[in-house]
């Protein structure tokens, strides 16, 4: 897994590449926590180059979404592959999280 952080004005885009699984979840959570602690509260999680997510990865997304909500911010999940979307759907997350087709759309939602 590789995470790239980009800032578009007030919006932080976290592009996650590879697998967000039990092996990498902690690293991803740490990256998010550091940004949240720096006061960032508008996030786009760009999954367009993420091939696979497991429940450990979903846990990170849920932790981040709860934290952002508590900070009166917003978080958008963008660019989900079929596998990623199905895992979100199975878990009921599609109805409690904001989604966008692409990272660009996600950024536009938050600006």
């Amino acid at each position: 897994m590789n995470i790239t952080t980009m800032e578009h004005g007030p919006v932080v885009v976290l592009a996650i590449e590879g697998r967000l699984d039990g092996q990498h979840a902690q690293t991803a959570e740490q990256t998010f926590v550091e940004l949240a602690q720096a006061g960032k509260n508008r996030f786009v999680l760009d999954f367009s180059r993420m091939a696979y997510i497991s429940s450990a990865g979903l846990r990170v997304v849920l932790v981040a979404a709860k934290k952002v909500r508590a900070m009166q911010g917003r978080l958008v999940c963008a660019g989900m592959s079929d596998q990623v979307r199905d895992v979100f759907e199975m878990s009921g997350f599609l109805s409690i999280l904001e989604t966008a087709a692409t990272a660009e759309e996600g950024i536009a939602l938050l600006q």
Binding site: R19, G22, Y52, S54, S55, R59, R69, D82, I96
Partner: protein
């Protein structure tokens, strides 16, 4: 952890057996694995011999070995990318539980023995997971509540639910030394 609840006892001396046919959410789309005729012909010609991955069971970094294993199998068996990812998700969820919770202080099996054996029958991929961890029947876990608001959603509890959604059949057996779980997933 623990399997203190009643299970269907199929009368084997080796241990308790519990089998379940899972209620599937939807048919799996046939993506990228050729048409049904091709698939049936190919697998009827023999599928492939059982292959086993042994994990030390010490760290979740070992999930990388699981992905390498399935990448090789998927390539050889010409699985669709999606089938491979579904099988990987099932294995990751179950093996993560075993590695993380299967060997508490009072159950230090030395050495740990966690194995995933994958074979292919005519219409199914069969995955057998065995370990020498404490007895735990994941089929006994109740379904998560999926309708809670963001604030109320608990962190976790989804892994086994995913396995039940994806696999067509799941059998659990407590063995003399640990656990055996057999998953069957229909080739589409």
């Amino acid at each position: 952890m623990g399997s203190d609840e009643a299970v269907d006892n199929c009368g084997t001396e080796a241990g308790k057996v519990h089998a379940a046919s899972t209620g599937k959410r939807s048919p799996v789309p046939a993506t990228g694995s050729g048409d049904g005729t091709d698939g049936r012909t190919r697998s009827a010609e023999g599928g492939f011999a059982a292959r086993t991955l042994r994990l030390p069971g010490e760290s979740l970094d070992e999930l990388a070995l699981l992905h390498d294993f399935f990448d090789r199998l998927g390539h050889e068996a010409d699985w669709s990318e999606r089938l491979k990812l579904d099988l990987l998700l099932c294995c990751e969820e179950l093996l993560t539980n075993t590695i993380s919770y299967g060997y508490p202080e009072e159950h230090q099996a030395i050495p740990r023995r966690i194995e995933a054996t994958v074979s292919q029958e005519t219409d199914y991929v069969v995955i057998e997971l065995t370990d020498n961890a404490i007895p735990f029947n994941p089929l006994m876990s109740g379904p998560p509540v999926l309708t809670l608001d963001l604030e109320e959603r608990p962190i976790g509890g989804l892994g086994v639910y995913f396995v039940k959604q994806i696999a067509d059949e799941i059998h659990y057996e407590e063995t003399e030394t640990g656990n055996r779980l057999i998953l069957r997933k229909r080739l589409v």
